[in-house]
Point group: C2
Chain length 331, copies 2
């Protein structure tokens, strides 16, 4: 495999394959259940039952951080593949249908006879913030063996979610995918996913970012946590020394994209906030769709902002409108 | 049981317990799949697979016509119970969670070891119309034995959907519930559900309406089909002779409520149409919530219109806003 060989896929996402159960809730429910508002907590099957029983009627939509990124990127015209594990059950069939229907190649076989398909109970408060509780289910059966080497070698950028670091098998899968990608002359991207996830695995993330990551996505809080930095500038200086490209999102303040000493500030696209679920995932999708199409950093950031603005305007983390024309119209 | 004994429930709904799979589609897909736009078609498991494969990514939400009515009525403050059959599977758990979380008493035990929970593939075209394809699954295991006599006797109004007439067992359940309700001095309401459903079972519906129905819900097309009438006035005259109360909905033209020679015209509430799924179900919910609270016919119609306007403003057939204050503010 020669560096720079044309790739069959622009983006390969690897992550936890999850079906979201989304419901609007009052602030008081999040407090009463003692959840950390705005963050993701791992829960077991019993806790999932208990929390679900307290939730109002909801809707089920395919989720998973990297899977959302893949679906959105495909909707923007990128050629996309995804690896992740669902079970052979009804929610697994929903996940498989939705990602395939979004135009994403999804070759991972389902888990048979093990845990059920993962689900994430998402409580959306009136301010649009989402508080997530994930029962990983079949995702824990995703390991090195599930890393399809051919697909990794065939993708210009392999994009992985920080949430993979919560399970040793997934962490091993992550490292194998990164090694395969680099050996094939491809690039590796990572999103830090969640401040608490960074806290849980800071040392591992620091080593990984330094050694293996070409493109890093993070929000301000996650980046500050990674470098235990006191302010944004310190964190930006640290990350610029360690990765080729860093894209740091700051909610309505837009994003900053760094490449060495180059620095681009990107405004947020106008949005009416209904549900912030998937904003970061969509930003990464827009960024990578533009990046793998050979666009400049500013265009990458702007397509990220545009995609994020679309998904926070409705419940659910994937596109409900066709943004291809808008994407093409970016300079 | 004495006529007029205070009832534990205002409304008991009986119907097909279904999880909806809702996706926005282009007009061309509905044509290509040769569907009758705006209507409901019964499909088998194979057809469900085939159609699902053609659908874009969707969302799963609890549905079922009478179940939607129950959930909306409970959201308007009515005391509501529901009877219908799901399987012991993931979609069945979703249905059970959602209707219970809406505040509806749902005592029917799940079907074990039979067909899976029913699903309705709903294609929503850009004009907001929904074209429905129902795989009845576990619903076909709902029969007379599933009619909980105690709950029927304890409900002021037993409300059933015309769709029950598509399965002989459900039709028998319908008749048993009506007989139990009347023997307990309660009232029986029916929605005609769908023009094609009326076509399939016209004779049975005609006999039922004449003999067993106190309150009939229908839209213009369904009523015209029932009486094979050439115009609305002929159909209205026919229905007024046969049922105690008839509520006839006419989309944006509002509704007409008849009781003997009394006739009330009700305007539609202002709405931005996103997805008309459940408009008729929500109208019946508002109407019956007001009716069982002792309100006059005009207030019944207005609460019906208000509930319908809320659900057509978003995807999904159940309330996403609390309408209790608005309901109480109706004269």
């Amino acid at each position: 495999m020669t560096q720079g060989t044309p790739a069959r896929f622009d983006i390969l996402g690897i992550g936890n394959a999850i079906v979201d159960v989304v419901a609007p809730v009052a602030e008081s429910l999040v407090s009463r259940l003692a959840m950390r508002k705005g963050s993701m907590t791992l829960i077991d099957a019993d806790a999932a039952e208990r929390i679900y029983a307290e939730m109002p009627p909801g809707q089920e939509v395919s989720g998973g951080s990297a899977a959302n990124t893949c679906a959105v990127a495909a909707g923007l015209g990128a050629r996309v593949a995804y690896l992740g594990r669902v079970a052979q059950d009804q929610l697994g069939a929903v996940f498989r249908h939705d990602i395939a229907a979004a135009g994403v190649h999804f070759p991972t076989p389902p888990l048979v006879g093990g845990a059920p398909t993962a689900r994430c109970l998402i409580l959306v408060t009136p301010d649009g913030q989402r508080t997530m509780n994930t029962f990983l289910g079949a995702c824990v059966a995703f390991g090195e063996a599930e890393v399809d080497a051919e697909v990794v070698r065939d993708a210009a950028v392999t994009y992985m979610e920080g949430y993979l670091f919560d399970e040793p098998a997934a962490q091993a899968a992550f490292r194998r995918a990164a090694a395969l990608a680099h050996a094939a002359g491809r690039q590796v991207a990572l999103t830090l996913s969640d401040t608490f996830c960074v806290d849980r695995h800071r040392a591992a993330f620091r080593a990984l970012v330094r050694e293996d990551i070409d493109i890093l996505f993070a929000n301000e809080g996650e980046l500050a946590s990674l470098y235990e930095a006191n302010d944004l500038e310190d964190a930006l200086a640290a990350v610029a020394r360690e990765v080729g490209i860093a894209a740091v999102t700051m909610s309505e303040a837009g994003s900053i994209v760094l490449r060495g000493t180059e620095r681009v500030a990107v405004a947020a696209a106008p949005a009416q906030v209904v549900d912030t679920t998937g904003a970061g995932d969509a930003y990464a999708a827009g960024f990578l769709a533009a990046y793998t199409a050979g666009r400049g950093l500013a265009a990458c950031g702007r397509l990220g902002s545009l995609a994020a603005a679309e998904v926070i305007g409705h419940y659910g983390a994937r596109l409900t409108r066709d943004l291809r024309a808008a994407a093409a119209a970016l300079d």
